[in-house]
């Protein structure tokens, strides 16, 4: 039985003690009551929270994930199940321990999440994003890089950089996403630009002007949006080095930057490589380890590359030679399939939220069948449970 408090947080009343529901569930159903945790702050998530769900409030969800960050099906499911809950899993816990222990005077460490498609990398990144937001770090978040490479909404040749390409619409969207995620924080920090940016004869952003002005300019003038993004990233880097703020860079599908193909074509129908995008340059310069006071968490997925390059989910293969050399040395963290505990916890969550309806599926036999047919793979499990 679920009771809803006015703030939207969910707390449970143990079914055993409530009188009216004594006969609603058949006895053969199994449910373990340990799949939720009340620790809502990711900064405090530790090893013993492994396999537990913690819920994210609507306001946080709106702030962090309006511009993307949660996979589409997961987002729809969270809306159906009346609340976003994320499972705390080993890769995220490992990352949080590293981030808590980081020496922010040293050059930034890069972490690469890898694993099969659908094993939970994006969700782990979402968890880390929440952590960064709670830790007061400026979030630089790219929800899914292949969107820029495979489905560009109009790429134009860049004016400032010869032979490079802009993404006007995507840059505007990204700036909007950035300001939503970091709005309050930016107001508090009051960062200023360190150099002058001349956009045209009449438009320029002087040195010492607030960064919010730069962002607003980018959002209003699509023509200069991409360069605004590049400028913003440069400023953030300098601000981090001079200890004015701490930056967390989270990029999903990083290996798409090194993809051999994109959907952008020149007039002569030749393909433009992703390395010739201005945005790529900007984010690659940000993910280099030549700055301090920050952290870079990146995910690498087989579905970010074309079909021929999806043989292995391992990071060196997915990044390719260029990508590897760019990120080396990095810490690769595997996002595996569910362990037994995590699997049962996930099933418990589905049962509790009334998503897994079939009474027979809620028994031990049903769980065994689901575990076998999904192979403990998170995405497969989600798809199997969806119709029943």
């Amino acid at each position: 039985m679920i009771r809803f408090s006015p703030t939207g947080t969910v707390f449970r009343v143990w079914r055993r003690f409530s009188s009216w529901s004594a006969n609603t569930m058949p006895i053969t159903e199994t449910i373990t009551d340990t799949f939720r945790t009340n620790e809502l702050d990711p900064m405090n998530h530790r090893k013993d929270h492994d396999g537990c769900f913690y819920s994210i409030s609507q306001s946080v969800k709106k702030q962090l994930f309006t511009g993307g960050g949660l996979p589409k099906e997961y987002k729809e499911l969270s809306e159906t199940l009346n609340g976003l809950s994320i499972m705390v899993r080993k890769p995220a816990i490992e990352l949080i321990t590293y981030l808590n222990k980081t020496n922010f005077d040293a050059p930034v460490t890069r972490y690469v999440l890898y694993g099969k498609t659908g094993s939970g990398k994006s969700i782990s990144l979402a968890h880390i994003l929440h952590y960064g937001s709670n830790a007061g770090m400026v979030l630089v978040h790219v929800p899914w890089v292949p969107n820029w490479v495979r489905f560009p909404k109009g790429c134009t040749p860049s004016v400032i950089h010869p032979n490079m390409y802009d993404h006007p619409i995507e840059s505007v969207e990204w700036l909007r996403h950035f300001s939503t995620q970091n709005g309050l924080l930016m107001q508090k920090l009051e960062l200023k630009t360190t150099e002058t940016y001349t956009w045209s004869k009449r438009e320029m952003t002087a040195a010492g002007s607030p960064l919010s002005e730069l962002i607003d300019l980018g959002m209003n003038r699509a023509k200069y949006a991409t360069d605004c993004v590049a400028a913003l990233l440069g400023e953030l880097k300098k601000a981090a080095v001079s200890k004015r703020c701490r930056v967390l860079v989270v990029i999903d599908g990083f290996n798409a930057f090194f993809s051999p193909r994109s959907k952008v074509q020149r007039e002569d129908k030749s393909i433009v490589l992703p390395t010739e995008f201005v945005l790529t340059d900007a984010f690659l310069s940000l993910t280099r380890n030549d700055w301090t006071n920050g952290a870079i968490v990146v995910s690498v997925d087989a579905s970010a590359l074309p079909l021929e390059l999806r043989e292995s989910p391992l990071p060196r293969y997915q990044l390719g030679k260029q990508g590897f050399e760019h990120l080396d040395p990095f810490i690769p963290i595997e996002v595996p399939n569910y362990s037994e505990k995590e699997f049962h916890s996930q099933i418990d969550y589905y049962i509790e939220r009334n998503w897994l309806q079939q009474p027979k599926a809620r028994t031990d036999r049903g769980r065994a069948e689901l575990s076998f047919t999904s192979g403990n793979h998170p995405l497969s499990l989600m798809k199997l449970v969806a119709p029943y």
Binding site: W355, Q357, Q358, K360, A361, T373, P387
Partner: protein, 234 residues
């Protein structure tokens, strides 16, 4: 065997037809089958099997020849016979995977819609009333759509009359499913089949909607043609 004896003891459709030899229907004793008449259907439900073994029935069936199980008959906890039949009817040109996907998406949409209502509801009583299990909804919806009588054309003296006659369980179920699928395949292409099917099933569950209306229209027709009912026997 007297005629009335047949009707009283065996209300099954096949027996009546083979006895009275209606125009336009082939008189058949049993459907075409590769198997001999004594070969039994397989029991693939694990609970039933366990019951049979416990009660001792299994020993009696040890040497009885049994038909091969079909590829969609399985011991999965999600297996539902009615759903398999429905998927077979949705299937075109043998594309079972597409048919399964469509029906499963429809179930998911039903769950989504019902859960939306569930989480909006404020009192426990309201919540208890909302049915969330899509299979239960599907069964109930089909029940609500099954007609009790059907019309058949009978020629008397140069004119063809639509005569109401009783309907078998299988035929009723078939008609319910057929109507459900036809209504979900309507012309408006923006809304795809699974969504439409979900809406239709929910409506039928609540005894409203196009399919139930169709059943009720049929019943009304049967009622108006009551006068011709005796044409059944000449």
């Amino acid at each position: 065997m007297s005629l009335s004896g047949v009707l009283r003891k065996l209300p099954s459709f096949n027996a009546i037809h083979c006895h009275l030899n209606f125009v336009g229907r082939i008189a058949r004793q049993q459907p075409y089958s590769m198997y001999q008449p004594f070969v039994k259907e397989p029991t693939y439900n694990i609970e039933k099997l366990e019951q049979l073994i416990e009660s001792g029935e299994a020993k009696k069936r040890e040497f009885v020849p049994v038909k091969a199980a079909r590829s969609d008959q399985n011991v999965s906890v999600f297996h539902d016979e009615l759903t398999s039949k429905f998927i077979n009817m949705v299937m075109e040109k043998g594309h079972k995977e597409i048919a399964t996907k469509l029906v499963e998406t429809a179930y998911m949409k039903i769950k989504q819609m019902q859960l939306a209502k569930y989480y909006k509801a404020t009192t426990d009583a309201e919540r208890a009333e909302i049915e969330l299990n899509p299979i239960v909804i599907f069964h109930k919806a089909l029940e609500n759509c099954k007609p009790v009588l059907q019309l058949t054309p009978i020629k008397r003296g140069g004119a063809t009359y639509q005569v109401p006659i009783p309907i078998t369980e299988n035929r009723a179920r078939f008609l319910a499913m057929k109507w459900m699928i036809l209504e979900s395949r309507e012309k408006e292409r923006k809304v795809h089949f699974p969504e439409r099917l979900a809406y239709e099933l929910l409506d039928a569950f609540n005894n409203t909607g196009k399919v139930v209306k169709r059943k009720q229209d049929l019943h009304k027709q049967c009622e108006t043609n009551r006068a011709y009912a005796h044409y059944r026997w000449g």
